[in-house]
Symmetry: none
Subunit: 186 residues, 4 copies
Amino acid sequence: MTAIKPLRADARRNRARILVAAEVVFVEKGPTASTDEVAERAGVAIGTVFRHFPTKKDLLQALVKDLMLRLTDEVTTLATEADPATALFDFFTRMVDQAAAKKTVVDLLAESGVDIHVAQPIQSLREAIGQLLTRAQHAGAVRTDVGLDEVLALLTSTSQGALHAGWDPTLQRRTLTILFDGLRPC
Amino acid sequence: MTAIKPLRADARRNRARILVAAEVVFVEKGPTASTDEVAERAGVAIGTVFRHFPTKKDLLQALVKDLMLRLTDEVTTLATEADPATALFDFFTRMVDQAAAKKTVVDLLAESGVDIHVAQPIQSLREAIGQLLTRAQHAGAVRTDVGLDEVLALLTSTSQGALHAGWDPTLQRRTLTILFDGLRPC
Amino acid sequence: MTAIKPLRADARRNRARILVAAEVVFVEKGPTASTDEVAERAGVAIGTVFRHFPTKKDLLQALVKDLMLRLTDEVTTLATEADPATALFDFFTRMVDQAAAKKTVVDLLAESGVDIHVAQPIQSLREAIGQLLTRAQHAGAVRTDVGLDEVLALLTSTSQGALHAGWDPTLQRRTLTILFDGLRPC
Amino acid sequence: MTAIKPLRADARRNRARILVAAEVVFVEKGPTASTDEVAERAGVAIGTVFRHFPTKKDLLQALVKDLMLRLTDEVTTLATEADPATALFDFFTRMVDQAAAKKTVVDLLAESGVDIHVAQPIQSLREAIGQLLTRAQHAGAVRTDVGLDEVLALLTSTSQGALHAGWDPTLQRRTLTILFDGLRPC
DNA sequence: CATGAATGAGGTTTCATTCAT
DNA sequence: AATGAATGAAACCTCATTCAT
């Protein structure tokens, strides 16, 4: 149980602005973009960035954690509210779309050799996606011999692939179609 | 048409050693590894690296070009000698295996924001893979409504995905199986 | 004549705690230790340190002043109550002992380029030691051609020397013995 | 046995210039002076300083080592050529004089928390001074119950003491006189 | 008065690239 | 052509000091 110290209003505001700025900057220039640039974009001084994230690594990790939490929320909603037969495919599609629009932080993480110490958020996401899969299988929309690991592997691969040049939306659909056909019972 | 100046024997030897060293180093540490380290590993002085490749970018591009040529050779052989029905899947599998073993240079390229000026080698590779695909389709092993672009997209995605932690060989096979099922006629 | 504003009870308490903390921290890490660390050790916020001591320099100076006052007290007691023939040597010995135990603030001062504006406390200490010397000379324990300046010079030198590695207590005694022999009449 | 790689002429020249500049700068401003300033004074770029001394610590240590070597030379000359009865006192006096003229690097070292890894040069110096002492004792100029450790302790103390404000040359002589009286047989 | 977040100059260090040897 | 020292911009990070809460 970690007692999280409540931050002062301005500090919390700055923390948020830094994370937003960091996402934008790193998405644009990759994880080698300078911390200075993040600070400038966030409209704070460089020292403020380092007060909140003592290391660049810490900043990247916080970014990942954040993204994971947002994703988990989204997936959980789908898992409880959407049509089981299509929810997994919908999520898959949405994720790849997002990845294509901006270099995901999952990617940043992979590229910058950050040691993953965000186990818990990742675990939550994994479980949420697991629900999607199970429900899709119960609904007969996905083969029962497909495991969560394969789904995740395909998801991350395709998301990252979508980042690279030359994937127009049409190509994405066609690629996903092939994948989905592989996942379907027949 | 560029007239290629014939290099002195020792110069050509050095060029080769640098490329080998660069591949090893960048595979190990990612594209942010220092050029110094490449030089040391190649057993030459840093100045020699820059004489052959005026820029780090140039070094990366040469690496990509090199890899493309090797891959094209391999694919061409498959396309003319192997069983049409399985050649595409074999190649696909082999490529993912290699990617899992070492960060491919395709990846390096993507990460370092290198402007792609290796059009020609890439084009050759593309065409060679196109042959594999066509022959597989003629042999009835692949759906005829699948295009070369989708195949390439899936190939690069999966290759890059294979780099990331947690893909044991078994997972790779299972993931590829799903993909291949998606590509097959039924 | 500076009218000293009476401080509120909590402010006075904080001031004292900061000084104690500063002595501990600077003794441990040298005068380059960060003011943050002093604040943390004192259990106050950084702003509180700067309210009491507008500058790091001020903090160092206050520390020196404090030490001088304590030393002067001690010497004055010796000068009025102890055996004249041994009081100087006793004091000398005690001071070197203390210096060996913890980096004196005199030393801190010297290292941090602080302009000496602690003239008055230093003057008092000087006079107190002067008394010790005079009385020792009257008692025939110290040569009469030795001046206060020399005594102070030897005192500070030896105190600082005692800080450096390799001065075990035995070596301190032997070194002081030589010094004292030099100070004695014959 | 460390094989010392012979440096290129310009590299050796730069190394020397950096050391000279460092001595000047650190003497003037203390060990907290910036490495940038050393570079500027040496007329080289900042990167050159760090090529020769990868860390500020390294630069300080090299400075110490250098000084030790020069001192050892000086002492050895005295030990073989000068009058045994006065050589020790001469050296002692000269060292204190130098210390008074410029903050010695021994002092810098002590202040900057540098781990001493200059054992060998220090040992040589120690031995050279030991010779001075032995010869002075044989010549009847120093008490035979005085050890090398005490002499060194007094030497470093007095040298450092001489750095601090208020030691005019006259005071130095008088202080040394007392010390020397303590060392002499009577 | 106390707090502690924000500031931003400045320090150390790295690294692609140039150039004298 | 090879060498490797020099360059210097830019990165990361620290810390004395200010100021809103």
